[in-house]
């Protein structure tokens, strides 16, 4: 089991280390050359900055936004979903679910296009909007999955013992952990995706910001002149999300 953990962890470690330590080393790589030219190891980006420097600087914000957005999504929607699933009052369930239905019916791209420009260029706003977009989805998935467990005998027995919302919720959450963790993994990937898509649509982070997701968009015109400027950040993003998902799979597999 141990050995199987390694590929995922390595994939995860590379981007995370680059993101964490990169900013410390980045100042060494700030020469400016010709667009997509230059002398750096990885060449220049669309404004001639050293791609290596940008890569080293650009991890923190990507990882930060994705982690933050995913964390906020789950911090809000997890409890809501569990509440809706375990409550015995229909009114509570409705009070949670119906307002979300409105957000659900709202095309998420539209939310991105309309809400992000309110404070242009703010990573926090992007994270917030990404969280908002994911919120109803997560609530629905977790609630639906938890409903069957919540209606089960074990939960009745917990109630019979006088257990409160917290323990009942914890039990239900634990029973649906695989789905939740899987969803969490894809949400994380989805957050990366949304940051990049926002850049493509011209909202959110400025093309100028060091951010892997944004780099993929900003440098794609130079794909044939300096492939490294697009490919390296793209590979780092892929490594990050594939690594995170493989590792969580493996941890779950080991737990059973």
């Amino acid at each position: 089991m141990r050995g199987r953990l390694v590929p995922g962890l390595v994939l995860l470690a590379v981007p995370v280390l680059v993101a964490l330590l990169g900013p410390l080393l980045a100042s060494a790589f700030s020469a400016r050359g010709v667009a997509f030219g230059g002398t750096g190891v990885l060449g220049g980006d669309f404004v001639g900055r050293d791609v290596l420097g940008q890569v080293l600087r650009g991890g923190a914000s990507v990882v930060g936004v994705a982690v933050l957005a995913t964390a906020v999504t789950y911090a809000v929607s997890g409890p809501l979903a569990l509440l809706a699933a375990t409550t015995h009052r229909r009114a509570v369930d409705e009070a949670v679910m119906r307002p979300l239905d409105v957000v659900v019916a709202m095309p998420s791209m539209l939310l991105l296009l309309l809400l992000v420009p309110i404070v242009p260029g703010s990573a926090l706003v992007v994270a917030g909007v990404v969280a908002l977009i994911n919120l109803p989805d997560v609530v629905r998935i977790v609630r639906a999955t938890a409903l069957a467990v919540a209606a089960g005998t074990a939960v009745e027995a917990l109630r019979m013992q006088g257990e409160g919302v917290v323990r009942v919720g914890a039990y239900v959450l634990r029973s649906v952990r695989r789905v939740v963790l899987t969803d969490l993994g894809t949400r994380f990937t989805g957050a990366l995706y949304l940051v990049a898509s926002a850049a493509f649509l011209g909202v959110g982070l400025s093309a100028d910001d060091p951010n892997w997701a944004v780099m993929v968009d900003a440098n794609r015109d130079g794909l044939f002149v300096n492939p490294a400027a697009t490919v390296v950040p793209a590979l780092l993003i892929i490594a990050l999300s594939v690594g995170a998902n493989l590792t969580s799979d493996r941890l779950l597999g080991g737990a059973r």
Binding site: H88, A154, E156, A157, R159, Q161, G162
Partner: protein, 515 residues
């Protein structure tokens, strides 16, 4: 034909099954008997080539032909999403029944499994079946499967007396057709009626084995003798093991101090004109039609009825797990909320319920002891909840080595007892027990009944077992199709049942020998 040689199952430091060997010839019936936790289910699983998680099986097991299995806990093996009918039809088709005859075959199998209204049941999901109905559906599935070897683990625990007898007859008919049967059971009457040979297990070791007549007729081993002696209907003899001490030690349910004086004749729990409905296929089915019930302080009432008559439904209404469509439930004159979550903590503690499916009522991720102890902490605020839980579990016969494990590594009977201990720790005024003794061997059952008899709590005991009624109850209520058919003091009802059904239910627990 089955040949087991040197079967040994190791679970960490424990050895649930050690050096078990036996053979069963084709078309013969072997019964595995023994007290709860003696290794019956473990052995049965080994016959299927399976092992519980965390256990290692060694030794040789040879089984000729396909094996059909009736598990001890039928609820969890039925599909949670698909309807009963679809499952059974698929089984029939798989067994090679021609398309045109599938429906008929399924009907037939359900009838043989004693399902009264097969057509109604076919459209149900598993959670819409009563405990006994689930068991019979699983039996029907085994019948349909057409296996030449059937391993049946406690196939009759959840059934009422007449049904049990007829299920036994069906199994006998199967054997007559040449099917080999391995029966795990605590029901010695069933063993006598059905089995050719018997193997007696104790703590995973074979203590004795041989033809039924020899072993049960003239038991050589002390343990077997005790098992036989503790059989209901043979009064006066107790197990060789000291039965759980009822008078001294830590009492699971001491008198509630500070409450109103407990005088007999004062109603604690009153249910008035309770009707309850279930929904199936978008339609509403009435399970209880205006049932009224009054439980006095310290009273011990047995609730009997055919499988599916609404016993569990009534029990769940009282416990606040099922909202009645009309009618009220009152505790000491104070109306109780229909739903548990809206009852006050002391009310929850006062009315406790032991679930029919003990295994399903535990959180599979936490050790049994931790779960059981929570009751004492939450409902009674005892700081020493862990200690109390340990003591109470010991009194139902569960040692520290057993209860510190996860639920999945406990046997069916062990879990049932743990569930009982969990409810007792709430020191309830009224304890509603749903078939707590159904999965227990004669010896263990005796101890548990003594324990129950010794509590101060008012008891409402749901059971199919006439011996339990006779031994424990003062009053009996007979339920039929959601209506109270008859009620009265046990002695009177037993002596002179007014209704035919009552006679059948409370009649001889021993199935008439069929072979």
């Amino acid at each position: 034909m089955i040949a087991v040689e040197g079967l040994r199952i190791v679970a960490g430091s424990a050895v649930p099954v050690d050096d078990v060997s036996f053979t069963v010839g084709a078309g013969r019936v072997l019964a595995l008997v023994g007290e709860s936790g003696s290794g019956k289910t473990s052995t049965a699983l080994a016959l299927l080539g399976e092992a519980r998680p965390g256990t290692v099986v060694t030794g040789s097991v040879v089984v000729d032909g396909s094996v059909g299995y009736v598990p001890q806990h039928p609820g969890s093996v039925l599909h949670p999403v698909r309807r009963v009918g679809s499952l059974l039809r698929e089984t029939a088709r798989h067994a090679g029944v021609p398309r045109a005859e599938v429906r008929a075959a399924v009907r037939d199998a359900l009838c043989r499994a004693q399902v009264a209204d097969p057509d109604e049941l076919l459209g149900r999901h598993r959670h819409q079946l009563s405990g006994g109905q689930q068991q019979r559906v699983v039996i029907a599935q085994a019948l349909l499967g057409g296996a030449r070897v059937i391993v049946a683990d406690e196939p009759t625990t959840g059934q009422d007396t007449p049904t049990r007898r007829r299920v036994a007859e069906e199994l006998a008919a199967l054997v007559a057709d040449g099917v080999t049967l391995v029966l795990c059971t605590h029901d010695l009457a069933l063993v006598r009626a059905l089995a050719d040979d018997v193997v007696v297990l104790r703590r995973g070791v074979v203590v004795e084995g041989g033809p039924v007549a020899d072993v049960l007729g003239t038991p050589r081993h002390e343990y077997t003798r005790a098992l036989v002696a503790a059989e209901p209907g043979v009064p006066g003899v107790r197990g060789v093991r000291p039965s759980p001490d009822v008078s001294g030690g830590t009492r699971c349910a001491p008198k509630v101090s500070g409450g109103p004086p407990l005088t007999a004749g004062v109603p604690v729990l009153t249910a008035t004109d309770v009707t309850a409905d279930h929904r199936a296929r978008g339609r509403s089915r009435r399970a209880l039609h205006g049932v009224s019930l009054e439980l006095e302080v310290g009273a011990r009432v047995a609730l009997v009825g055919r499988s599916g008559s609404g016993k569990t439904t009534l029990a769940r209404v009282l416990a606040g797990l099922h909202a009645p469509s009309s009618g009220t439930v009152e505790l000491r004159g104070e109306p109780l909320a229909a739903h548990l979550t809206r009852r006050r903590r002391d009310q929850v503690a006062a009315v406790q319920y032991v679930f029919q499916d003990a295994r399903a009522s535990f959180d599979e991720h936490r050790p049994v002891l931790d779960q059981v102890a929570r009751t004492a902490l939450l409902l009674r605020g005892h700081a020493d909840a862990g200690e109390r839980a340990r003591a109470c579990l010991a009194r139902v016969g569960l040692g520290a080595d057993v209860v510190t494990r996860l639920p999945r590594s406990l046997s069916g009977g062990e879990l049932a007892r743990a569930a009982l201990a969990r409810a007792l720790l709430a020191e309830p005024e009224v304890l509603v027990c749903d078939e707590v003794t159904a999965g227990l061997d004669t010896l263990t059952r005796g101890g548990i009944l003594d324990l129950l008899a010794g509590t101060d709590a008012g008891l409402l005991v749901v059971t199919h077992d006439p011996a339990v009624v006779a031994r424990l109850a003062e009053d009996v209520v007979v339920l039929d199709e959601g209506r109270v058919l008859e009620r009265g003091p046990v002695a009177q009802v037993l002596a002179d049942p007014r209704e035919e059904l009552t006679r059948a239910l409370l009649g001889s627990p021993v199935p008439t020998p069929t072979r």
